[in-house]
Subunit: 209 residues, 3 copies
Amino acid sequence: MDQIHFWIGIIATVAFAVTGVLAIADRGVDLFGILVLGVITAIGGGTLRDIILDVPAFWSISSVYIWVALGACVLTFVAESFFTQPQIYRCMLYIDGLGAALFGIQGVDKAWNLDFGLPVAPVILGLVTAIGGGLLRDILAGKKTLLMSHELYAIPVTLGCCIYVLILNFFPQYSLQGSAICMLAIFGLRSAAIRWDLRVPKLFITKTR
Amino acid sequence: MDQIHFWIGIIATVAFAVTGVLAIADRGVDLFGILVLGVITAIGGGTLRDIILDVPAFWSISSVYIWVALGACVLTFVAESFFTQPQIYRCMLYIDGLGAALFGIQGVDKAWNLDFGLPVAPVILGLVTAIGGGLLRDILAGKKTLLMSHELYAIPVTLGCCIYVLILNFFPQYSLQGSAICMLAIFGLRSAAIRWDLRVPKLFITKTR
Amino acid sequence: MDQIHFWIGIIATVAFAVTGVLAIADRGVDLFGILVLGVITAIGGGTLRDIILDVPAFWSISSVYIWVALGACVLTFVAESFFTQPQIYRCMLYIDGLGAALFGIQGVDKAWNLDFGLPVAPVILGLVTAIGGGLLRDILAGKKTLLMSHELYAIPVTLGCCIYVLILNFFPQYSLQGSAICMLAIFGLRSAAIRWDLRVPKLFITKTR
């Protein structure tokens, strides 16, 4: 199981770095900026989580995620025209959704195992793990953040993390199956949002003035 | 006394969440963004303070502040037209000023009791507690931050925190009365600024070019 | 040696505060905003480093850096027309480059001595120490960050930090000389970039769309 998580983590790191770089590439960023912003997209969320949890940043224990993210950034810079092909880009979006699902559930798990602010805080930390890196990238790149778009990205993650916390609380014996199911649920919702370009309905959006 | 602080804290959390949401509602934010940004406005400053102080985030010990903030955000979203009525909004601004006063003095207290970088750091942490959440919200919402406006908001807080540090240092026996007086001073100055729309005089502003 | 580092640190703090203030003065900032943003520019990078390293913020142990930064901010506000003279400003840019060199190498040193995520993390933390404060200032002031400009600022720092990590790893007996040489190398590269207005070549910049 740890093996599976490790490999999904690696794949998710690649996807986060690639989509992170593509999200800002059209603004004229130099290779160095791409390396920094791509790595921040990939590891920023987990770093924020670890800072709030007051445990060492995960990449200080195993630097493989940084190397993988750096490699993915260079690759994206060199082969940008490959990754911006519609079908490839779409594929990366799905993998990015899988990554967000994994990172979210991992964040809940880490907070839960540390007994950190049960039961609310684990959901917050799951969300931070999944979207924190993207928020940092957008802030540093001067882009509108995810919170101001009306994408269905953070909402599936939050729902999945909430359900997972309920499972951990009421059916701790099914935590393993629960984590898999919640990850799939997040991924499924996110995939539906990508596939049919679903967004938050107007009813739930404040009026601009 | 702790009871009083607790209830002012709850009221302040509500006011921060409400004014935090109203400050960005005109940009077309969805309900999820409102929940996240409202909660960040309400608890972000205290979280930054706790991270710098290297103590567990206050909401990991008692999650009541998060629930209160979430409730206030939903309420603001549903009843936006109520809260944007001039006299209600003005009333929220005053309560927000009271909240800033409380949070600032509480921040000084927490740093002082931990012997953290006396005597300068407690003032900094008081200021961080009071305005940190609003800064995070503005950054995430792509708004001009408080530091670039010329509002009299952070200045009263800083003055009050400075005086409180002086009292803690030279008249520790009056710390309780001192905290109440400094809170009132901050609230008074902020209220005057709201009432007469006072701003930083031009003399103290650099010229735009 | 510690004496020398201390004084370079003080000079670097002054330079960071001065250039930090000048970088945003043309946006019409009030004196309070200048104090906050100047201090953040000067001590923000080291603070981020200490938070990630999970050690107390350096200014909680010795507040001299904060006082020096505050003084430099007031001075810059009062004597803005002095500091914006081309030759004085240029001189501050060089000292700022020396500061970035010192802060970068100090950041590597601190992480290395704490055995933090060797060998990759020290480079990241050196970079964070050198440019973190400027990034925070730009975000708070609503300015385009360094990562989106194509300046040769972060790249010399990163190169120097990488070489220093190699020296610490393979020739630990020469760590003292190595730190001096890497600092000079960073300063030299940065000076060349200032002197001849060198920027990242177009080849390494993504196309804007």
